[in-house]
């Protein structure tokens, strides 16, 4: 377990140590709470992306969906809890339907989700044309929870990593998920239904994206269709840093959580290093490349002549 996750641990230490040196006071209860607050929503989105990538698909609409969920939370959920819940649950159903279509008609998930991303942003800007909204108090309170001794974000993300670990590595369903990603024919031969796996996995992608949106709304107390635009890339990068692969079958729950934290902390580190906001997005892209380069050097074995 530790050996497998050596890269994500290294990459998070690589950003955490400079932060600790630049701002020693961050390493306190309140400091860590503030530092890792924004990591919670991205972690959930990364877990969502991890499920999609486990079966060899990629969801390119996660960032837009998370934005939509903040708008649903700010506009519908705050006025009518029942209606808001129905709206959120119907998103999960839509995702399950899309998963079914992707499997049955052998569609490219990238294209379908790109189409979806238009729809999500369209609905979101209809609900909430400009950033704002009124996030229900119970969501906000949940993410301001002052837990004893250990800051809430750390407990939250540890629990998340554990739950996802149990789903993916300790349940029969998890074996099927990884099997569909690794060798779908073998799963079919063994008498299982890849269709069911696709439907459930896409349901999970939708569910975790929704949780991510609620967390983002809770942490930022605002609804904004475009707030989470970067989540699509950051979630993919988080999964890859965490040791997941694009071809499916290979994932790590703890790795994904650590990868998401790294992606969040990179932004903080750049701010602490007084790097101008202009340069930040480029620096983030650069750091993704460096981490991936290191990971490649670590596990590169044998010469590959054609890529």
């Amino acid at each position: 377990m530790l050996k497998k996750n050596i890269l994500p641990w290294c990459s998070i230490l690589l950003v955490l140590i400079p932060i600790a040196i630049l701002r020693p006071r961050v390493m306190s209860y309140a400091g860590l709470q503030l530092l890792l607050n924004m990591a919670m929503p991205l972690t959930l989105a990364t877990i969502a992306q991890m499920f999609a990538m486990a079966i060899g698909e990629t969801d390119f609409s996660i960032g837009n969906l998370v934005g939509l969920v903040t708008c649903i939370a700010g506009v519908i959920l705050s006025k009518n809890e029942f209606l808001g819940t129905v709206a959120l649950l119907s998103l999960v159903l839509i995702y399950m339907f899309v998963g079914a279509m992707i499997y049955l008609k052998k569609l490219p998930s990238i294209i379908v989700t790109i189409g979806l991303s238009f729809v999500w942003t369209g609905i979101a800007t209809t609900l909430q044309p400009a950033p704002g909204g009124n996030i229900p108090a119970f969501i906000v309170n949940m993410f301001e929870w002052k837990t004893p001794f250990v800051p809430f974000p750390i407990i939250f993300m540890s629990a998340l990593a554990l739950i996802v670990y149990l789903i993916v590595f300790r349940s029969n369903f998890g074996i099927l998920i990884r099997g569909v990603g690794g060798n779908p024919k073998a799963i079919l031969q063994a008498g299982h239904s890849c269709f069911k796996v696709y439907v459930f996995v896409f349901g999970l992608v939708g569910l975790f994206s929704i949780l991510s949106g609620l967390a983002l709304a809770g942490v930022t107390t605002s609804a904004d269709a475009n707030m989470a635009r970067n989540y699509t890339l950051f979630s993919v990068a988080g999964v890859v840093i965490g040791g997941g692969s694009f071809s499916g079958g290979k994932v790590s729950s703890l790795g994904a959580v650590l990868g998401a934290c790294t992606m969040t902390l990179v932004g903080t580190l750049l701010t602490f290093m007084k790097i101008r906001p202009d340069w930040q997005i480029g620096a983030q892209g650069f750091i993704i490349l460096v981490v991936l380069l290191i990971s490649r050097l670590l596990k590169n074995s044998g010469k590959i002549n054609y890529v």
């Binding site: 008609k105 294209i111 369209g122 620096a283 002549n305």
Partner: protein
């Protein structure tokens, strides 16, 4: 009786070709526009102008996608922006600098494309990540160098891209010409056959002595060049290069390739489908505009149309996808 069946058969086999559908859809949308608008021909001309940009960008994206599963260029939007900005800055609103500015823009696109492939090849990272990460860097460069200003094109460039010949925009004719040339290159040249071979089976292509690295390097570079040319023409057309002028091209470049009947899994390209798909998508945008729908509803409907067409297509085209 005989004749009728053969006509029907011919029609049916035509309809089975994926690339025909966007054209049919485009005609349907145009008829709808004619119903609601008195200036339908003007709308068509405007759609053709914007569709030309989709065509150019789409061809570049198609080349990359054709080289096999996972290959995709997500840096197109910021390549468009950066090369447009660099070109306009070089031109400096002076007509005689247009050619050198165009070259500068194309060079920028080629460099970005080359960088994309080097990242993919040297770090062996998935193209999706490599091109997105490099697009972050490209975007930052555009922000830092140009501070979000709009840089105006020389007057002659604006005039040139707005010229109409017999009702057809000049850039549309240019785009069609490029499409015809690219279609010929793809089906007849060594390069064209190489990228199909690589897309169908990269190992077999490598074993049969195709220089995979060189072909893919060239492909990513060409994609950057197509984006750059689009950036320069677009800047001339909309009256200035801006930071976000390429934003919508990430989605649309992929959409026109897939709607046009190319396989997203690679190995099967289709240039003429891109032309139809580009026309169709831009006619839809214009139709929704005429109907007075806001940007939100337009987004929703565009997205639903893309999904609906892909759902309807399905199976036959994507059969090569591994599963």
């Amino acid at each position: 009786m005989y004749e009728q069946t053969s006509i029907m058969g011919g029609l049916l086999s035509l309809l089975k070709q994926k690339k025909v559908w966007p054209y049919i859809a485009a005609v349907v949308v145009y008829v709808a526009i004619e119903r609601v608008s008195s200036a339908a021909t003007a709308t068509l001309a405007a759609s053709m102008s914007f569709a030309s940009f989709f065509i150019l960008v789409g061809i570049g994206q198609m080349l990359v996608i054709t080289t096999g599963p996972g290959n995709i260029d997500l840096s197109i939007p910021y390549t468009i922006a950066l090369s447009g900005l660099i070109a306009m800055k070089t031109m400096n609103e002076v007509d005689s600098n247009i050619f050198i500015g165009l070259l500068a823009g194309i060079a920028a696109g080629a460099v970005i494309g080359a960088m994309n492939y080097l990242l993919i090849r040297l770090i062996l990272m998935p193209p999706m990540i490599a091109t997105l990460a490099s697009s972050f860097i490209v975007r930052t460069l555009s922000i830092v160098w140009f501070r979000g200003l709009q840089i105006k094109p020389p007057r002659a460039l604006s005039a040139l891209v707005n010229v109409k010949i017999a009702g057809f925009p000049l850039i549309f004719i240019f785009a069609i010409l490029v499409a015809v040339i690219m279609a010929a290159i793809l089906s007849r040249s060594r390069y064209g056959r190489s990228i199909h071979a690589i897309g169908q089976n990269i190992k077999a292509a490598w074993l049969s002595n195709i220089n995979v690295m060189r072909v893919k390097f060239l492909t990513y570079m060409l994609c950057g060049v197509f984006a750059a040319v689009t950036g320069v023409l677009l800047a001339g057309f909309i009256g200035g290069a801006t930071l976000d002028m390429g934003d919508e091209y990430m989605m649309y470049s992929i959409a026109v390739v897939v709607l046009g009947g190319s396989s997203i899994a690679g190995g099967d390209s289709n240039v003429s489908g891109i032309v139809g798909a580009s026309l169709f998508l831009y006619l839809v945008v214009n139709f929704l505009n005429i109907m007075g729908l806001g940007i939100s509803l337009r987004n929703i409907i565009t997205g639903l149309i893309i999904i609906a067409i892909i759902f309807a297509g399905g199976d036959s085209v994507f059969i090569s996808k591994k599963r």
